[in-house]
Symmetry: C2
Subunit: 608 residues, 2 copies
């Protein structure tokens, strides 16, 4: 039943040889890998205005030069990441670049902060999308957390179905959003050029503003830069592209940069020209759409597609997280299970892990995840800075043809990323300080896991250790509970093995019972030695373990192995199990983990 | 850590021989077994008045003859149960009496309804006690469910610590409640006899009342009879008494009857004489206490001890449920685990089951369990009726000395119990109908469980079945994952057993890998046959199971056993387990439950 539900939800398993068909073309890749970046235009410009409004409405004109700064940073990042794509055509992004050029710890810092960041992306963007939905339908408000979790589950199922399938479905809303915004911006500019809109109510560019400070401008710039989160996703996900993967990825990156630049510029300019003032009740995009269209059907299309893109921004996390986790797991910094491909060839453990952790965040914050946004932004600019610096080192070391231009590009990228990161730390320290505690702990955990895997590898390796001692003989212990076919079956099996000694053990709760059992046993199995143990405290495990310990001491001295043979009857229907004491399971688990004995379960299947 | 917490909460384990010290003397037994019955005086009289008030204040005088009726029923029940105690000195109450005299199904109906009833007792009485607490401290109101659950947990821990210990602690509040009520009643009568209270504002006895009907009077009587729930508890719990158990139990029962009669009469009379009118905001007992003492310290003592006794009424369920469950489990109608004595010699599985189910009820009803009261009352009068009828049959069959008097007593008991039960069904059908669906389902479940145990018993019994076939040879299959000490260890063990064939199996995900593995194997273990399987879908279990099936077909035909030897390495620290794929556990569980093979786990313990 479970497996047919699984089939229905995620489809039939795919053969390993079908991996090629799971690669993405540029159109689909652009849709699922850029949804995070593109969705940022829905709130990035607003973030700038929210900071500027504290200096008064006269400061709004600064949004234009700040936007220019953001565009410059965008251009630098796109060019830098384009270089990373060609230099590291197998993907891995900031983690690989930092590790190879700056060393292990910078790599782990970059990888760790991106891992956490993708989880935050999912939680934050799904919560934002849910907010948009519950704002439109206030009756749904009490179900915010439930709706958010259902959305996460839906995206998870889509991703478990595999890349191509999720991309085919998710491409529509992404392109619809882009199209809707372009129409809005186009109509807006048409209105402005036609003189239908009175010149901006905002102060014109260059108007001096009292009380403006460099600190404030930096904060506004840093806030606006939060629109650039998600730019690195493509460089992580190169293995998902059709070949030639690096070329396709580079072209997709360029297209994403262009779209992002156009939409960002358009919205910043329109909000300036239409004299938009940010307020808590209505988003900037909503105000612009209302100014241009009024509250007609186009307005609602803009709002609807915005809500969708906010939810789908989560999908970028789903594309990049499993690949990054795969890279970290391959290097043994996190659990090996992240390297396993699921039924549909995706790294399904990564997908499921991402779903669970982001839902836990949503539950913990009861859907109010806005507080996590600064953490999330700073978590992106740390790997940005590290990867660009890594490229700097690479060019300085390798000095390939044209390295000076490449160096300059990455230098500018590194510098601005570093500045933005520092701005976040300085201007929002009260919100981002947990990063300084959490990241080192995460890196420490990575090291401990690596250390464990290395230790295990050494202990298992046939070449580095002395060979296991040969076994010279066997002692078999059979705990028995009565005179039944289950016991008979186990004893027959024990006899069929060439054991040097077979000992049946019975744990009695009362003295009288003990004697009766011994008498009956002598008649039934005269050739098998029976040991009866007394349990004053009605526990089977404790006296049994004590006995096994004594046997084992002797056996080990003679290089004999000790096997505990556990008779277990298996009922026909699984609900019957609750009617039987699961002593055999308990004994097995206890012995296997606490004592060094071999444990054999001899099943006796009931027919009724 | 878990075990030292357990020690702290419930104390050191007791030896089976210490059972005698866990028996109760009469004083303690009265306290813990009568708390349910005694607590009913806090709401029984009120229930009568609530019904009568619908016919107008003039009808209140009827509470006196109705109370006389309830007292008569109480007397009949006490005498009947006294006879049951001596006839069935090993306890079991309604279940045993009905089963032995009326047959299996009546016994199961009585037993089933009592089992459910004890769960309801705990949920309802703890909720009522919590209500009393939150009424006194309204700030605690939002935490109703939490407080109720904590109270259940406290009573559970006390009961897990053992009978004598819980009785020693719980006796104080019970006797304090009885004492407080006696003082209140005494002072009340003193005031009345001194003429300090004006004659009752209620109509005098015999005043004709317009609109009074037999139906209404029956309902009032039935509601008042709900004060008699809990009377049967002593007859269930005879094994908990010090010897001579039946004599002590009978004396305790008589004492309980007397206390109950005195308190019930006193409260009904005072509420009539003080002209109490039931209202939603203040209980009848609270009104009487206020009328007698005013709001002084005595008033608060009455209120406080009432709240305590309401909570402690739950304890009667804790004393009777595990014993009843033991009796049903001994007869194999419910899971065998209820027959096992815990560390402190109580039937701890019954105690824990009762705690969990009653907390689930409290959670499901969010602490508003009043709706369950009618269910609970009808659930008591079904076993009352059945046990008295059972005694009738017994006397008619056995005709011992003085059987006519005994017959008469049980006949009256049976008749009134039956009438009360029918009154409940007729007057409160909309609330009690679930009993008619739930009880038959429960009895059906009992039968299915019994059938399963009988079938299992037959299949395991050495005398009724042909003996298990002897094993003529062994095939050992070792799934291998690489060239490691873990595998080497398992192979050494396999070689040490006298297997007719050892087959190592490797599941490869890629063709190339397969060939490499085979070559390396030939050099490493030339004398052990290797079979490589190809998995297109990256599953280890499916190809492995298919292979085992083929081997097994051949082996079974030749009476050979098939053993799957699973190499498993056990990390030093248990958290390390999450870093390793638990394939060996999965394979084991899958094979043991789906295929008829013997499964051996060969552990390899890591030192680091």
């Amino acid at each position: 039943m479970f497996s047919s539900l699984k089939r229905f939800l995620i489809g039939r398993p795919l053969k390993s040889t079908e991996l090629g068909e799971q690669k993405l073309n540029k159109t689909k890749a652009l849709a699922i890998l850029s949804s995070d970046a593109l969705s940022s235009v829905a709130y990035g410009p607003e973030q700038i205005l929210i900071v500027l409004v504290t200096a008064g409405a006269a400061a709004f004109w600064y949004s234009l030069p700040i936007a220019a700064g953001v565009l410059f940073l965008l251009a630098a990042l796109i060019l830098s990441y384009r270089q990373i794509i060609f230099a590291y055509p197998h993907g891995g992004g900031a983690y690989i670049v930092s590790k190879q050029n700056l060393g292990e710890n910078p790599g782990l810092i970059a990888g760790g902060s991106l891992l956490v960041d993708y989880i935050l992306t999912v939680a934050v963007s799904v919560s934002a999308g849910t907010d948009a939905i519950t704002s439109a339908f206030p009756a749904l408000h009490p179900y915010t957390v439930l709706i958010a979790c259902i959305l996460v589950l839906l995206i998870t199922i889509l991703n478990l179905r595999g890349l191509t399938e999720s991309a085919s479905i998710l491409a529509y809303p992404v392109y619809l959003f882009v199209l809707a915004l372009f129409i809005m911006i186009g109509v807006g500019f048409f209105h402005i050029s036609g003189g239908e809109v009175s010149p901006s109510r905002h102060a014109s560019i260059g108007t001096p503003v009292a009380g403006i400070s460099l600190f404030l401008l930096l904060r506004a710039f840093a806030s606006g830069s939060s629109a650039l989160t998600g730019v690195e996703a493509i460089s992580n996900a190169i293995p998902n592209f059709k070949s030639p993967a690096p070329n396709n990825a580079a072209k997709t990156l360029a297209a994403m940069g262009l779209l992002l630049a156009l939409l960002f510029t358009g919205i910043v300019y329109l909000s300036y020209y239409y004299g938009i003032v940010p307020n808590e009740k209505e988003t900037v995009v909503s105000q612009i759409a209302e100014g241009i269209f009024g509250r007609n059907v186009f307005y609602y299309i803009i709002q609807g597609t915005t809500a969708m893109i906010l939810v789908l921004a989560a999908n970028t996390g789903y594309s990049a997280f499993p690949l990054l986790a795969y890279n970290l797991a391959k290097d043994r910094y996190i659990a090996r299970m992240f390297t396993i491909r699921g039924d549909r060839l995706g790294y399904s453990n990564g997908i499921i892990f991402l779903a669970i952790t982001s839902m836990l965040l949503i539950l913990a914050f009861r859907g109010r995840t806005e507080k996590l946004i600064p953490l999330y932004a700073v978590g992106v600019f740390i790997p940005f800075t590290l990867s660009q610096s890594g490229m700097l080192v690479k060019w300085l070391k390798e000095k390939p043809e044209g390295w000076k231009i490449k160096l300059t590009i990455n230098f500018i990228g590194a510098l601005i990323s570093f500045l933005v990161m520092m701005t976040f730390f300085i201007t929002k320290f009260t919100q981002v300080w947990p990063v300084l505690i959490f990241l080192p702990l995460l890196v420490l955990l990575f090291h401990r896991i690596k250390k464990h895997y290395t230790a295990v590898g050494k202990q298992l390796d046939l070449t580095t250790c002395e060979p296991a001692l040969p076994i010279k003989g066997n002692v078999i212990i059979v705990p028995v509970a009565g005179f039944t076919h289950v016991v008979e079956n186990s004893l027959n099996y024990a006899k069929s093995l060439s054991a040097d000694q077979i000992i049946a053990v019975y744990v009695a709760f009362e003295r009288e019972e003990e004697k009766k059992f011994e008498e009956k046993w002598r008649k039934w199995q005269p050739d098998i030695r029976l040991v009866t143990l007394n349990s004053y405290y009605r526990s089977i495990i404790h006296p049994l373990t004590k006995f096994i310990d004594t046997v084992q001491k002797k056996a080990n001295a003679a290089d004999y192995s000790v096997t505990v043979l556990i008779p277990q009857f298996i009922p026909k229907k699984s609900w019957h199990n609750i009617l039987h004491n699961q002593s055999s399971l308990l004994i097995r688990a206890f012995l296997l983990y606490r004592r060094n004995v071999i444990v054999t379960t001899v099943p006796y299947r009931l027919k009724e």
